[in-house]
Symmetry: none
Subunit: 203 residues, 4 copies
């Protein structure tokens, strides 16, 4: 099966961009409730059909925006070989993402919707959660490379996912559930706690 040769008028990439921008704006300014297909179309200066041709629902719109925002986050990471720095970087990157008003609005709404929608859950896991997982795994990987026997033992015991839940979950609870800011001190504390958990698991 080959890609069928494009027939008729090709899709407008300007519309693509306008739709995503409009979605981001609406999410940032009024949260999930403010995100309506009708509103997106109006703000993007595009017909409703043009939106529906690309996204089946506002949830899809939110996922697309979320994906977009997280991609930007990933690119901003420095390379490092120090596990402590890597962990701190991972935390900081996640925190950065949860600070974006658009992402805040989209994140929990998408998660909530995923509770009754297996396909969406899978998409979230692959495109949103996995982003955090990669960051955490980088830190854990460095820990394993450079650490001695203890760290290796830790790796045998602690599951990557626990560490993921620990780091990402703590940030989600702090920032999204409780609406608190995170500063460098908190990041240090969280990093210390995470490393302690790893070491404890290895003992």
């Amino acid at each position: 099966m080959t890609t069928s040769p494009p027939r008729g008028r090709p899709r407008s990439s300007a519309a693509d961009a306008a739709i995503l921008d409009a979605t981001r704006d609406l999410l940032a300014s009024g949260g999930w409730n403010a995100l309506t297909v009708e509103g997106v179309a109006a703000r993007a200066g595009v017909a409703k059909t043009t939106v529906y041709r690309r996204f089946a629902s506002r949830t899809d719109l939110a996922v697309a925006v979320l994906d977009d925002l997280l991609d930007a986050t990933r690119a901003a990471l420095d390379a490092t070989t120090d596990p402590n720095v890597a962990v701190r970087d991972a935390i900081r990157a996640c925190a950065e993402a949860y600070r974006s008003p658009a992402a805040r609005g989209a994140y929990l709404a998408v998660i909530a919707a995923a509770d009754h929608d297996p396909a969406l859950r899978e998409a979230v896991d692959a495109r949103v959660v996995d982003q955090a997982r990669r960051l955490v795994m980088r830190g854990l990987g460095l820990l394993l490379e450079q650490g001695g026997t203890t760290a290796v033992g830790a790796a045998a015991v602690i599951e990557t996912d626990l560490l993921l839940d620990l780091v990402a979950g703590t940030l989600v609870h702090r920032m999204l559930v409780r609406g608190q800011e995170v500063d460098d001190e908190f990041i240090d504390q969280l990093a210390a706690a995470a490393l302690a958990a790893v070491r404890a698991a290895g003992a």
Copy 2:
């Protein structure tokens, strides 16, 4: 300042109960999207006005149900003086709450709505988050009572809220964000990680 004497026909407590039940049912069966004021009124056998007289929005309904479910959770806790048991109990109680289909639907939706609504955020903090906070503080309190110098030192350093974010956040991420189940093994691991974090902070 005293409460003014009730005038006019008193509110029907039967309606109160029917509305909460209906809300719980709808949340459990279809999640946040299935929760409509109209649906609640119909299922509760009550007029829409009767719902609106008590709750200003479906968000309010969700908060009430959440509050209700968490109250039930609290009551189910055994008394203990062992900090390890207390921590495990706290985790188990939170996990239990996040397993309820009604609570799952309500929780993140309410959190998402709170992002653009300071009053709601406050309500969530006072009535939902605080429930978890109390559970965590009980464990930490026992730790302080029974622990030696190390634990006391820990108390001076670690903030209750970090521990709260660590425990509740990890569970939220595992169960709600990622949709995974938690078993006893996971609870043990999380408890160990939390204690390790406390000890590390005290060092």
Copy 3:
């Protein structure tokens, strides 16, 4: 069967007056649509039950107000023995009634409601239309008394009700249906037309 002696607290005549006043005001200011039992109660400073104890519907309220206003009109008539003056007086009295904003609002609404409500129709005929009929009959009576053979012949032919419809109907159409004012010239023209019709019928 005698009227049972009144037991319990007697009705408040202050409430009676307040309700009628409120009804009149609402009708005058916003017409039939503005007349709600709830609004009347609020404006009269009275509980809804107090209104419903006296009037079964807003239609009843309107009839009461109409009745009240027409009574006032009747009282204002001068005695005369000149048929021409009597006819002019009748027209003028009716016109006066249709000028009152409250009466305007009530009149057509009540008539409209009567179309599907025989009991109301009867009440309207007895309490509203009959008022105009009496005025017209007075003029016709004087005409008969003073007129010669021609007028007597007219009386045998023309029905009182035709004259009633002619006079009252013309005013209703001019003032209520078309919303025009009536001046003395119009009253003269209408009087002349009415008398011509009577004479023609007698010919």
Copy 4:
């Protein structure tokens, strides 16, 4: 200034018809109170929005139906050159309109609403009253053409509108206000009275 070319999906004329039919039916069966936008939509098998896209209120619906019914009446008139026949025809046509249950319900209700709504008053005058005016003017016109000096003199004095009020008002009062039927005898009497009034004015 030209009418802009129609864009988007054109309005469904089937819906137009269904809405008018439903309105007519509801008015005929239950009068003004039975006319609800919700009911019209349901009976027409149409969404509420589809009704609101065409009519801003149930008053508008009633006006449209009234307009429609009167148009039908106009078409049913025979051509004649006899002024007496023309006057009788005009009366008969008006009477016919006021016999329709749908028109009865709509007529006075619309008039009542117009009392506080200048725009509606104008619409009523242009679309409902004017229909009767045309009928009356036809009779008066023939009278002028065929009559001698007397009739011409009459035309100089009597206003068309007085004749309109006289004829239409008498019918309205007889049929709608008092709820009486009109037979041929009444029509003859009314025609005679109207002609007498014209002649009297010309004298």
